[in-house]
């Protein structure tokens, strides 16, 4: 059994989201150090505000200001802050019912230790120095000894309303391709292509994924295929991909390696793009130190007869 292959895989996205009128007012308010809630039909004030009543699903839109002070309704001590969380020193997660609100807001509480936190304690907002109209405009809460803070008198209308947020998301993985694909990748490093044969229908899959999709059984028997193959179909790419140093137009094709019952994909080079055709015989070209074929080029053999590859199109 070869060593398990592993590689870091980072998935990172800046999600751009537009806001409706209620969220827009709330987040713009935070930028201006104002906390807004929304009134429900039965007179409750929801903070953070939502656009639809969670009980009746009635549309909501009447914004009211609440205080930037409040009471902890529950808490949990986080001694090891994780990436992206509001504070990088130990803190308490808290649900805070702000003065004037009937529901609680989730955020972080900066406190010296768990003994300094309890349900029912008074807290106030600590504003972030730089504010852009996001929940993180509240840097965190901090302990506070006093009554409700004064309201600013805001009616929820501001100059230059925030209409969207960018929510960056990053997740880190360690990718392992599994048994079948590991064997394939390791063989490629030796400039060999290996497929796997289905014990039931005898088809050879390249690259192997460990299972025959027709029979639903494991493919285990390794079969050497290629290196030459036949172009079964192709397309001409006219859009330059970011971070890819290939001049357009170029040709991307399906290539049935000799001995394989499934075509794999690859770029076709060494031939003008408008001369690539179905049936063209090709072979892999490896770049210096490359762990997989850079592209496939014509072998110079006569084209394959359609009958020989029609099942693979």
């Amino acid at each position: 059994m070869p060593e398990v292959l592993k590689a870091p895989l980072v998935v990172e996205f800046p999600f751009t989201r537009s806001l409706g009128p209620v969220q827009s007012a709330f987040l713009t308010g935070l930028r201006e150090r104002v906390v807004l809630g929304v009134k429900t039909g039965d007179g409750q004030t929801l903070v953070p505000p939502v656009e639809y009543d969670p009980v009746t699903s009635e549309e909501l839109g009447e914004l009211v200001e609440v205080a930037s002070t409040g009471t902890v309704s529950t808490w949990a001590w986080n001694h090891e802050p994780r990436r992206g969380q509001p504070l990088d020193t130990p803190f308490a997660w808290v649900l805070v019912r702000l003065d004037g609100a009937d529901t609680a807001l989730l955020h972080a509480l900066d406190a010296p230790g768990p003994d300094a936190v309890r349900t029912g304690m008074r807290v106030r907002v600590r504003w972030a120095e730089e504010r852009s109209g996001a929940i993180t405009d509240i840097a965190c809460f901090e302990p506070y000894d006093g009554g409700p803070a004064e309201l600013t008198g805001s009616d929820g209308r501001f100059e230059d309303m925030v209409t969207g947020i960018v929510a960056p998301a990053r997740l880190d993985y360690t990718y392992s391709p599994g048994r079948a694909q590991s064997r394939y990748i390791e063989a490629l490093a030796d400039r060999r292509a290996v497929g796997e044969r289905c014990p039931s229908c005898r088809k050879v899959y390249v690259p192997p994924r460990g299972a025959c999709p027709t029979c639903g059984v494991a493919t285990l028997e390794q079969v050497e295929v290629g290196p030459r193959g036949t172009v079964t179909t192709y397309c001409i790419v006219n859009i330059k991909a970011k971070n890819l140093d290939i001049e357009v137009p170029y040709v991307y094709g399906h290539i049935a390696l000799d001995g394989a019952d499934l075509a794999l994909h690859g770029r076709i080079g060494g031939i003008p793009y408008d001369q690539v055709r179905m049936g063209l015989r090709v072979e892999p070209v490896w770049s210096e130190g490359g762990r997989f074929p850079d592209h496939y080029r014509p072998t110079g053999e006569p084209d394959a007869d359609y009958e020989t590859y029609k099942e693979l199109v």
Binding site: P48, T74, A76, W77, Q85, L95, L171, T214, G216
Partner: protein
């Protein structure tokens, strides 16, 4: 309102699961899943081509790859084309979809499977991506932190305390001693605080695993299984996403689902609860009115093995397997999704009288 009686008798006729392990990085998802699919088919003598409908549950966020479930389809023989569907949810919800498909009469058998490989990423971070993206997700509150907030509410309300939570975990892992598939079995230390008041012992293990069940309707179920586990009712409900809107000591959605599934019409003898945290069992026991006469999580439950996306389906499978074996006559199975038991599915399974 009495629960409506299903139009057709539908039963779980077979169940299989992997051993649940901290990592399975030598296997791809389909390689991990395939033995389970073969085992559940072998139990009934069916072949994939005999199955009327196939439905699966998994999530791309665990794999970090878009449309990751399509790779797993190789394991069910999806060529020539089959009738197939997928839910980006726990497999319990895939089972719900399969159950409705069988109710329509369009199929007589269904294969439901679910899998999750948590080992490539960080589950605590991955699960933050299911939260409200405007007000909550930008703060990256992880799954343990949110469960800990709920645990503190319960402690403040006098519904539990830290020793009682430790007892839930200890009982679960002791029960898991009889479950060869479980990841954590026997005596497991309470551990240090993960996020106070929850200790590592109150939290589920992180692991990789898969499960599959076969459903069949009417006489077909009797042909395939000596004692089918008839689904007498199944329902799922959701509550507000805002944590500060909800009463975290209660689970009205679980109670409503249970009521609509017919749980409260007659006592159950077994309950398989998808409560990944010890504190959530406290909430569910109260919401589902389960007293000490009910055998709770005899498999060890999710505190013993919690493969994300499969753990809820496993609750249904474990409850059904007890009926198949004759250890239960009427069992409740529960699955959850979202932070602090936001979404809940409840099924009632019964065996024929003996």
């Amino acid at each position: 309102m009495p629960a409506p009686r299903p139009q057709r008798d539908i039963a779980v006729v077979a169940f299989a699961q992997t051993d649940h392990l901290r990592t399975s990085d030598e296997l791809s998802e389909v390689e991990m899943l395939m033995p389970v699919l073969h085992e559940v088919l072998d139990r009934t003598g069916l072949r994939t081509s005999d199955i009327g409908f196939t439905c699966s549950g998994s999530t791309d966020y665990l794999a970090g790859r878009a449309f990751s479930f399509t790779m797993a389809l190789d394991g069910v023989g999806a060529w020539p084309p089959i009738s197939e569907s997928h839910v980006e949810m726990d497999g319990a919800w895939a089972l719900y979809e399969a159950w409705t498909k069988l109710l329509t009469g369009e199929a007589d058998t269904a294969l439901v499977y679910a899998y999750g490989k948590s080992s490539p990423g960080s589950v605590r971070d991955v699960l933050t991506r299911q939260l409200d993206p405007y007000y909550v997700a930008p703060l990256w509150p992880d799954s343990i932190a949110l469960a800990a907030l709920q645990a503190q509410v319960l402690i403040d309300a006098g519904d539990t305390d830290e020793p009682a939570l430790a007892a839930v975990a200890a009982r679960s892992r002791a029960s898991a001693a009889g479950n060869s598939h479980a990841q954590l079995r026997g005596s497991v230390p309470r551990g240090d605080y993960a996020v106070r008041p929850l200790r590592t012992g109150d939290c589920p293990p992180i692991g990789d695993g898969a499960a599959a069940v076969i459903l069949a309707a009417g006489e077909r179920a009797r042909d395939l299984c000596k004692r089918p586990a008839w689904i007498r009712g199944i329902d799922h409900r959701i509550e507000a996403h805002g944590l500060g809107v909800r009463d975290l000591t209660d689970s009205p959605s679980a109670r409503l689902a249970a009521e609509r599934a017919g749980v409260f019409e007659r006592p159950v003898d077994t309950a398989e609860l998808h409560a990944p945290f010890s504190s959530q069992e406290v909430v569910l026991r109260k919401a589902l009115r389960l007293d000490d006469s009910v055998d709770i999580n005899p498999s060890g439950g999710p505190l013993a093995a919690n493969p994300i996306m499969a753990a809820g389906l496993i609750r249904i499978g474990e409850a059904a397997a007890r009926i198949h074996r004759g250890d239960s006559n009427r069992a409740l199975a529960h699955a959850t999704s979202g932070p602090c038991l936001q979404q809940n599915l409840v099924a009632v399974l019964e065996g024929d009288p003996r």
